[in-house]
């Protein structure tokens, strides 16, 4: 193990390490802690210039109540869910199939198609912006959740296919050959042999896509406007305009907006990290 386990260091060093850990964590998360404190402060704290002192009073219920009952926030949150969840299923389904095709079968253009997905996934969004916006307008899907979902599914398929294909490559191939010898139809091999083995990959991708799409801002601004269809990342900026300089409400709003992916991360941590670090180890 590197660096050397701290247990083999002097007792002084061990104590130093154990005190340094929480201190460094607090420094690392300082901006976030500040926002959390902001979100429970009363309005008067800010008008009186008490930004960083102790809260004048504890206004948790009040501030978060404002966010939930007195703003468009719940609507934006619902929009985000309605955009994120279908995208998650769509992208995972498409890429599981594509990954199966590219991972199992040997055909001439296999690597070429694979690299097309990989390369497309690295492309800067801006080169897609004008045509995708036009296409969405032409289909009558501008400012709808469907328009956003369709694009997200397509774009995420690039990354997901890369992931799925590499995962399927690591499965034991003799298993598939055995099924073929038994005369199992190819689509049954996919459904009954490969898919059950891919559960960890499916879970990892689902949580990753959830986080990526929930946090998307650029496409939300390009393809939607207004509270009927905008997700929470775009909504928070109009929230910003509504409560200009109301730091306590802005903070509460930001925390609410950030919560779903945070919960997802802490609940599905193993899958999340497995997904993000795929390929980091040979």
């Amino acid at each position: 193990m590197f660096p050397k386990p701290i247990q083999s260091a002097s007792p002084g060093a061990q104590i130093a390490y154990k005190t340094l850990l929480p201190i460094s964590l607090i420094l690392w998360l300082l901006p976030l802690i500040a926002v959390a404190v902001f979100s429970i402060k009363p309005d008067t704290d800010f008008t009186q210039g008490n930004y960083w002192g102790a809260p004048g009073s504890f206004e948790f219920v009040n501030n978060y109540g404002q966010v939930f009952f007195n703003s468009d926030m719940p609507r934006y949150m619902l929009n985000s869910v309605l955009i994120t969840v279908p995208t998650m299923f769509g992208a995972v389904a498409l890429s599981a199939m594509a990954g199966f095709a590219l991972g199992i079968y040997k055909f001439k253009s296999n690597l070429l198609i694979f690299f097309m997905f990989v390369a497309g996934n690295f492309v800067p969004f801006q080169i897609l912006m004008v045509p995708v916006r036009d296409l969405t307008l032409d289909m009558g899907l501008y400012n709808t959740k469907t328009g956003l979902v369709l694009f997200h599914i397509a774009f995420q398929t690039g990354f997901c296919t890369l992931f799925m294909r590499n995962f399927i490559r690591q499965l034991p191939f003799p298993l598939i050959e055995a099924a073929r010898v038994e005369g199992v139809a190819e689509w049954r091999i996919f459904w009954y042999v490969v898919l059950p083995l891919m559960k960890p990959a499916l879970a990892a991708l689902a949580v990753l896509i959830f986080t990526f799409i929930w946090n998307d801002y650029f496409w939300a601004v390009v393809l939607t406007q207004g509270p009927e269809s905008q997700p929470v990342t775009a909504g928070i900026t109009s929230f910003n305009a509504q409560f200009r300089a109301a730091y306590h409400l802005m903070s509460a709003g930001s925390i609410v907006a950030a919560l779903p992916p945070v919960l997802m991360f802490f609940l599905m941590q193993k899958h999340f990290i497995a997904g993000l670090t795929l390929g980091a180890v040979k």
Binding site: F2, P31, W52, L102, I127, F218, A258, T277
Partner: protein
């Protein structure tokens, strides 16, 4: 295997059955290819095409050849954006050594270390919009925590985001926060897989500290470094959210990058110049293409080595 019972013996071996192995992959690929072609591949070429036109997005598009690109050459705002993109590329890469440093710091087995690791990773899960808001409050000229801390050590307050020379660095620093967390998790996973026997052997040979890190550990972390490099470069060139939230390109347009400037030209109150915007996007794409080619080449080498 359980599935064996599901099989039906084909009595009539039709055309599909005979060509099953050749056709199946294409059936499985069709939906993904269709979506990807319509929304990603074709739009790239459409954008390149639009960049040769003068078009407001509604009326008739007028062919202007290379005029948009010629105009870019003399556009001061474009030049600023290009330089800022370079700054982003260069300084965003600091996330890699910073992530490695934190990973080394946390790669211990003391009580509660798993919670520490998750909490250090936490910023990555936040949306860039939230990160942008959080940091813009952190940087507030008088009330901000940064000015508070600086005042505490006897330095005057700074208005990071209001200062044309500092603002871009301020935004990059905000971007480094989640990016460092990402690199950290990559390295933690990498460190987990470092071969303990090699480390022990090197220890017996008297290697330790920096030498050990440089000659034994970092070479073994190569796959993690590669991914960290890929995601950091892409992240740097995609930077848009933070700029839009924190400064909206200001002060005096000094924090624009290509992706932001393109959006501004094509889709904001500054006018709907689709052709000009597309030309900016093409330039950004060409920069990216250079990296994409390198990434694909590395992956291809990897794939054929196996």
């Amino acid at each position: 295997m359980a599935i064996a019972s599901n099989t039906d013996t084909p009595t009539n071996r039709g055309w599909y059955k005979r060509n099953e192995i050749a056709i199946t992959p294409w059936l499985f690929l069709a939906p993904a290819i269709l979506f990807f072609a319509v929304y990603v591949i074709i739009p790239i070429f459409q954008s390149i095409n639009i960049s040769f036109y003068d078009w407001d997005g509604l009326g008739e598009a007028r062919w202007v050849g290379l005029d948009n690109y010629v105009e870019l050459m003399d556009d001061g705002a474009f030049e600023v954006s290009l330089w800022n993109n370079l700054k982003w590329l260069l300084f965003y890469l600091l996330a890699i050594p910073a992530g490695l440093f934190i990973a080394l710091f946390l790669n211990q087995t003391v009580a509660g270390i798993r919670i520490y690791k998750s909490l250090f990773f936490f910023p990555f899960v936040l949306s860039q919009v939230v990160v942008g808001l959080v940091f813009s409050w952190f940087y507030l000229p008088n009330e901000g925590l940064l000015s508070g801390i600086l005042g505490w050590v006897g330095l005057g307050p700074v208005n990071v985001l209001g200062d044309p020379t500092l603002a871009t660095y301020g935004i990059i620093a905000a971007g480094l926060w989640p990016q460092t967390a990402y690199c950290m998790i990559l390295y933690l996973t990498g460190l987990n897989a470092v071969d303990p026997e090699q480390v022990e052997a090197a220890r017996l040979d008297g290697a330790k500290g920096w030498k050990m890190l440089w000659y034994v550990i970092i070479p073994q972390l190569k796959p993690a470094t590669f991914i960290a490099f890929v995601v950091t470069i892409i992240g740097a060139l995609r930077s848009f959210d933070l700029i839009s939230i924190m400064t909206n390109g200001g002060p005096f347009g000094q924090t624009r990058v290509l992706s932001f400037y393109m959006f501004e030209k094509a889709l904001s109150e500054y006018g709907f110049r689709m052709g000009y915007g597309a030309a900016i996007a093409v330039v950004l794409f060409l920069i990216m293409l250079f990296f994409i080619a390198y990434f694909l080449w590395s992956m291809w080498k990897e794939d054929t080595d196996r």
